[in-house]
Each structure stands twice: as C-alpha cells, then as structure tokens.
Symmetry: C2
Subunit: 339 residues, 2 copies
Amino acid sequence: MSKPVTLKQIAAAANTSVSTVSMALSDHPHISPVTKVEIQKIAKKMGYTPNLIARKLSSRKKRTIGLVVPKVAHPFLSEAIEAIYDEAHKQHYEIFMMVSGEDAALEAHHIKTLLGLQVDGFLISVTEKTADASPFEAILSKTKKLVFFDRIIESLGCSSVVCDDYQGCYNLVSFALDNGYTKIGHIAGYSDIYIGRERRHGFERALMDRNIPLNPAWVVEGGFDQSDGHAGMMKLYERGPLPQLICTVSFAAALGTLNAIHELGLSIPRDIDVISFGDSPYNSLMRPSLTAAHLDAQGIGRKAFNLLIEQLSHAEPTIEKIIVPTRLIIHETGRLPSG
Amino acid sequence: MSKPVTLKQIAAAANTSVSTVSMALSDHPHISPVTKVEIQKIAKKMGYTPNLIARKLSSRKKRTIGLVVPKVAHPFLSEAIEAIYDEAHKQHYEIFMMVSGEDAALEAHHIKTLLGLQVDGFLISVTEKTADASPFEAILSKTKKLVFFDRIIESLGCSSVVCDDYQGCYNLVSFALDNGYTKIGHIAGYSDIYIGRERRHGFERALMDRNIPLNPAWVVEGGFDQSDGHAGMMKLYERGPLPQLICTVSFAAALGTLNAIHELGLSIPRDIDVISFGDSPYNSLMRPSLTAAHLDAQGIGRKAFNLLIEQLSHAEPTIEKIIVPTRLIIHETGRLPSG
DNA sequence: CTGAAAGCGCTTACAG
DNA sequence: CTGAAAGCGCTTACAG
C-alpha cells in the first residue's frame, strides 16, 4: 500500500495549515475563495481521497444506517434491499448491510458490530428463529433508533413497516369465494411467527364472514419455503378428500404445492386449484399463472428507510407502525370451481 | 444519544490505564490473567462496545472489503452477493457493499467512497454501461487489489472470475444440434459487452463445427432483459421464416421471448422452440420448462472472494482469471425438432 | 506485568 | 480570513 495522501501533506504542499486545508476542501465559508480554489487544485493534483474513517471518528454526523437481513437471494428481500440502498443514496446516507443467514446468533453479533461501527440507526428484518429480544433492546438502550420491516418482533413495541398480511390474505381468499369456491384449504406458515399467524387469520376470517365452515383437516402448518409447500400438499392428499382450492402462505410454498400436484398426477383446476399469498415476476409465465396477493417490497423498503430517517430527527422515541396494503393480482387460478 | 462507554471510562472504573484496558480486552499476552478477568468483567458490566471506527483508524488491519454491484434484485447477483457475504463472515472479513444501479457515474462515486473507507480490496461487477476505466485504474494506482466477477472490464487486465460464457453457450446449442435441430437463431445481448460477445461466439462456433450455415437474419442483438427478449422475438417474426429453435442470451430474455411467442399465437415446439443461457429456480415450474445452461452464482461469488483474499497476501500484483464452467440443465425444450 | 506517550487523519471551536 | 490546539477512541511501540 502506497500511503494515501493526507491533509497534512496537502498543507505542506500549499504552504498552509491542516485546518485551512480541511475547511477549504469542505467549502467552509471562513476560507477565501482564492485559497479555496488554490487548495482544491493542489488536492486534486495530489490525488487526495479523504479518509472517511477519520472523518467519521472526529465529526458528529455519521449519516450511516445499519441494515440487517436474514437473506439476500430472496425475491422479497432482494427488492427491499435494493430500494433501501437507492433511497439511502438519494438522501446521502450510507448503508452498512449485514446478512444473518437466518441465524439468530449471527444476527445478534452483526448488531453488535454495527453498534461498534457507530451507525445512526437500524433497519432490521429478523431471522425466522429470532426469539431473544435482548440484542434489539441493547440498541434501544443506547437510544439508537430501530425500525423493523417485513419480519418484526411484536413484543418489542418498535416502529415497523409490514405488508397487510391479514387483509391481503382475506382479500385473496374472498376472491375465490366470490368465484364460487366453498371448500378451501390453507398451506400455512407457522402460527408462532407473526406473518404466518396474520395470514392464517385472514384466511379464516374470510370464510367466517360468509358462514362457510372451516375444515381443520384442510389447514396444514409447516413453513414458508418451497419444500414446505410440497410437504403440505402431500399431507393434505394423505388426509383424504381434498378441498377444491388451496391458498398458500407464500409464493415459494405455492411452487412446492404445484410440484406436488404435478407429481400426484392431479390437474388444475379440475382436481384442485391454487392461489398464492405472494407473487413473483415469473408468475405470469407459469401455466397456470396464479392469482395472488402482491407484496410491495420496494415500497416497504422505502417506507422503512424514510420512517427511520424521520425518527432520527426526533429526540424522544416515537412508535409508528406502517401497514402497506397488498395488491390482488388476478391470473388464471382461483376462478373456476370444479363443480 | 447517550454517549457510549469508552476505554477511558473503564480505565477510571478499574483504576488502571487506557492501554492496559485496551490490551486486556484484546487478550494481549502482556497482561496478567487476573487483571484481564477483572477488566473484562468491568467492561461487560458497563456495557462496553468497542468503537470500531476508532479501531480501524488506529490499527493497521482493516479486514474489510468493498463490494460494488449494479443491482441486488437480480437472480444471479443476489446469489453471488449472498455467497460473498457468507464467505467473508467465515473468514472474519467485513463487507461494505454499494449498489450502482447500472449507473456508471454512481459506480465511480462508490469506488471513491470505498477507497475513503479504507477497504483492503475490491470485488466489482460492473455496470452495463461502464466504459471509462479510470475509476478502476485509480484503485490499482493506490496498489489496492481488485477482482472483477461476472461482469468484467477486459482491457484492464485484472484478476477476474467469470462463468464460461463461450463454452456454456457452445454446449447448450450443441445439445439442440445433437437432437436434430439445424435451423437455430440467437437472441443475443450486445457484442460490445464481454458476456454478450462470448455467448454469441459459442453459439456461432457450435454451428460452424457441424458445418451448419449461420443465417444472419436469425441473429438479433438487443440486450439482456425480458423486454429485450420480447423485442428480439418480434423482430425475428417480422423478418420472415422463423428458425426452428432460438437460443436466448439470458433467462430473462427467454421469458420475454416466451411472452412474445404466446402473443403471436405460436406454439412450442411445433412452431418454434426455445433454450436459454441462464437458468432459474422457477424454470422447472414453467410449461414448458427450458433446457438451459446453469450459472453457478454462488461458486463465482465464493471464488471471487477467495481470489481477492489470496491476492491480499501477495505484495506484487498477480493476475489470475478463473473461468467457472456452466452446467447443462436438460428440461423439456430443445429436444423435439418440428419436422 | 503496567503505564505514559505518540499517533491514526480528520473536524471544530477558539484565538488572532 | 488563517492557524494552533484539542479531541474523536482506539492501538502500539517504548519505558519502566
């Protein structure tokens, strides 16, 4: 490493002091235009790159926020992350992102690191397994701001931005009911996870509101992944008479469900039909394409960032929960009840 | 912000000096076990979190690498990013990631920021539009290490990790040829972009090696996105007699091509068939599922990281280019030539 | 084994 | 308008 150029060296070259150079380079009003131009020219010629680490240490403002996510290669999260980065750049903030890999211990470790990196605030989407709230309490106890997005910890009473799991699933199932379906099942997530519970409630409420009995044998919990959808479908099949239609808790679960349907030699919509909470850009290319509730990942990312920035300006902690509606995407499925 | 606890405060509480506390906390051999335990206990009780910014400034080792990517919500990149983060964590490195959003000016700006953040080295996948090599030369001129992955700048003669675009496309097209196809078209990227050129060469060479004439009317360049695939297919249709099969330059382009085929009322494989350079987890769910060349995004990310780390240990710059083979995924398409 | 001191590269009052 | 000085919180030789 050839040593980088420092203010000191520029000061020597310009025959002036470090503080003058510092002020000149940051366009401080106390410095005369002439010397400013002069110094800036010299700095450029010497190939000066300010040491941001030193700047962060000595100045009050950090303009950095810590982002902790469970995954990156994930249809929802990758979009939310991109939106957060974009929004941060527009507002001249830096993002330090850490990836927990669905590992709660690693998540806690990353929070500690980010705290050490002196971020102004946190944007966090928790692990599937996060149970211990103490890492988050540590953030709050240092009076740093924290906004959860998508995956939250309810017990903490923090600000958060989530999609409307309950209403979105309610609307999705209602669409099928409006089209004449009555026997509807649910391949669900876990009820001890917020989004799983909310979606399931939406499903149940849609049936209740139309006085349609809920058949417990048609509801199976198991997770949010493709393999969980596959396992769920297999379990429903084993249990006996199938419902007419299944609402899956995620798009990935829908894919697994479709795979299972395929393997079982069943056909859609004759034997069974599928609608999905969660959409994908690939959906419209699939045969059949699935009627689905679309989550606004970018909107959630943007809103989470802006909510955090807003809270940064208030000294007293305020709690705000933003619920972003889902959008019903009507495709081929969910429309033709099989007699 | 309640001020964070510092070494100074711990030293006061422990009735000792800052340097002793510093050494005790970092388990330095010069400190007696008794005081170490004592100090560590006090530090814990006071809720000490080391200021990593200060540590980075005063110590030689940074163990931080800068990652610059054009996008995050991208099937290949999101996987590569995740693998890089994972590998970095395993080797106790931190990643500072910046997203250029396919904007070359922003990319240059991010590089400057990362340089200011004193990263040890760079992992970069360039923008589609990156033409000016000077930001990268600036990195090299500061004798920092730089490894390109996936999207590279050839003229720079840098270390890089890419997939085998040429051979992968060659193998993919050869598969169709082996199955009896002879009239094959190519919806290509751009030839002024490395991957576009390489894939096109692979396509052409596969035909040449079997003495099959190349019909220039069946090759259309236009880009790598879904919309480009759609436009490409439309253009081919307008030009007159279609080939039997089209090899697309990317999976996204394949999706666009399929959409266009659908709109045109054509059927697969009767009227036209499609194979794709680039795969997707959704592929197997599609009807038809596409025979495709699979890119090992995780492998490329991991190899790029490890190559950079290896180079960090050598003082003299060494140039190494790693080419990761693609894997042929045989699905429904590319197998049944229509008479 | 412990501590005083210098230094990392910058910013920011404070004098002049 | 310019500069000397203190300080950000740590690490690292160097004495003792």
